[in-house]
């Protein structure tokens, strides 16, 4: 069965990068640039993994992660934060915010694919 990934990212070029990388490796993707929409999409598509940008219009990625982790039906989906917030303390704060993994931008493509593979293989 094809594994699906929900990508929450407001920068269209970065969205395209993540999308193309995942599709080239046989994953199905669901895209959104809105945090509010992300929760709805997670409910309808039941993705195996969520890639979460932290700086988003309207609500922050951390808030969206909180909503997902508060929802019994969505709680089990791993959330990987991919963010340009890469100052000291950012990773800790984001992991405390409920994200299973943290990747800082700019990403290493190899490490990105490896992390995605790891979290999807666990299921």
């Amino acid at each position: 069965m094809q594994k699906s990934v929900l990508i929450v990212e407001d920068n269209e070029l970065n969205m395209k990068l993540f999308n193309d990388l995942l599709e080239a490796h046989g994953y199905k993707t669901v895209q959104t640039r809105s945090g509010v929409e992300a929760v709805e999409l997670a409910r309808t598509h039941k993705p195996h993994l969520i890639l979460m940008d932290i700086q988003l219009p309207e609500v922050s990625g951390l808030q969206v992660t909180q909503w997902i982790k508060d929802d019994e039906n969505l709680r089990h989906i791993p959330v990987i934060a991919i963010t340009a917030f890469a100052m000291k303390g950012d990773e800790e704060k984001i992991r405390q915010g409920g994200c299973e993994a943290y990747l800082s931008k700019p990403i290493s493509v190899v490490k990105f694919l490896e992390t995605v593979r790891n979290y999807i293989a666990d299921q």
Binding site: D10, N11, L13, N14, K16, L17, D20, L21, A24, I54, Q55, L56, P57, E58, V59, S60, G61, L62, Q63, A84, F85, A86, M87, S104, K105, P106, I107, S108, V109, V110
Partner: protein, 609 residues
Amino acid sequence: MSFALILEKQITSLIHPGVLNSQVERTRHEAFILRRLATSVAVICLAPLFLAIYGAPAVWHALVYVWCVLPIGAVVLLSRSGDLLRAQAICVIGFIGAATTIAAAGGPWEAALAWLVLAPFEGVLSQNYKLVVTSGALSALAAALLSFADQSGVIRTGFGTGHAALLILPAILYATLLAYGIVEFQKKRERCADLRTEHFRAVYDTLGDLAVHHDRNGVAEFISPNCMELFGLPTAELIGRGLFERVHVADRPAFLKAVADAASSSGTITTTLRLRAGTPVSRTGARAEPHFRWVEMRSRRFEVNAETAQGCRVASILRDVSEAKQRDEDLEAARAAAEEVNVWKDQFLANVSHELRTPLNAIIGFAEMLANAQLAPQDPEKRREYASIIQQSGQHLLAVVNSILDMSKIQSGAFDIRPEPFAIAPLIDLCCDMVKLKAQEGGVELVRAYPEQLEEVVGDKRACKQIFLNLLSNAVKFTPRAGRVTIKARPEGTHIVISVADTGIGIAQHDLANLGNPFFQAGASYDRPYEGTGLGLSVVRGLVGLHGGTIAVESELGKGTCVSVRLPLDCRLPSSGRHGTAKIETVGRRSPSDDPRQFSAEMMVKKIA
């Protein structure tokens, strides 16, 4: 009213007004008046008794009587002229006159001699060497003359042997020397006391602090004389409750507590309070505002001889610490400012990092895909698209770097503007064209509401283009789909006003103050809803400032923002007042539904230097 009080009042009324202010002189006069009046009154009272015993008086009796009441005249003289020395001289003449009369008339000579020996002591009261010596000399002369007259048979004294009067001379000499010694001793003591006073005066002056003694209730019993120099207050104003009344109302409990604590403990109690210093009276006679000085008060108890004063006292040293306090406050303000700058710096760095990493992610990611044989797409069309994305992101990165450099140049004053005449309408057209695509993508309508013909402007064309472009792209960026961005331009005297209004998200009142600070974008960092460096408006602010223009921002949360830039038609004119960064005048519009009556009153105007 008791007899003593009446007497005291009567005596006080006799004192010459010239000496009322000097405690020592006044005591002397009082002593003189009281003693002499008492003696004279006693003599007058004794007169009937004398008459009863001896019958009608002889002539010399009457004469001695007159000599004895002579001090009343001296008291009257003292009361009129205040001349103690002369009054005392009259008394001395009285003594000698009485003695001479008694002796010459053949009365009881022992009594006469007693008067003569007493005379030198009169000078002790006024501490006058001359009076002591003169009185002694006059007494001796009188004794010698009496003796001589008796010898030569001119008069009949009561002396048993002719030389008896001469034998009194050593006694007069001794009495004179004794009186002289007493005066000398007193003068020395006085000098010692003066020296001590001077010593303390010098100590207080050197100390530069106010010394106070108070009882345990804070009533001041002593105030050091340097009070005037330190706080511009005469000592008399602080004595008693004066000090307490000059302590700031809010600090009075602390003052009383410190004094009470010091009185009941053995340690030094320190407290800080405000003391109302003397209000300087200006030349126009108007009194200045009450002016408080910060004072550090150190208090410690000390025991006073239980017989003269009851219980313990508290000694306090009051030090003016206003300047130190001011320095502390300045330091604290500087520290807070430095801390704020630090916070800004951290945020600046975090934002720079974020804004550089975002385009770098696409650049490095796509580049890595193209470079990797396994990841590179087979489709050449796709490969070209990736290369184009890399280029596009690189351009964006370059724009961010340029903004940062521009900002840093403006802030360090290294940004040179090159004034040249140019037509402003075509420039605005050009900028509109540049953001048109972005506006179409975002579903935002771009309205150009300015005449085609506008006056020519002298300014830096590149800088002006940057100003309009930044304002337009900000407006487009913060305006949601189906919104509208309107750009207007109109001449206004020697200026031209360009305004960009949007129907976007608006700016909250508390964020208006930070507008135009580099990297400030309204909202907390993780929640920043829109990407962007926040450099746009701060670059605008800097460039407008370099042209000598001003910026006004009017905004209402959720309703939209209008940014107006006022540029001089010719930025080379000195009146345009060019400086580093322009002022931003912000007006937070409150929604009329909040309180319709106060709509205009609630308009908040804030100026940012």
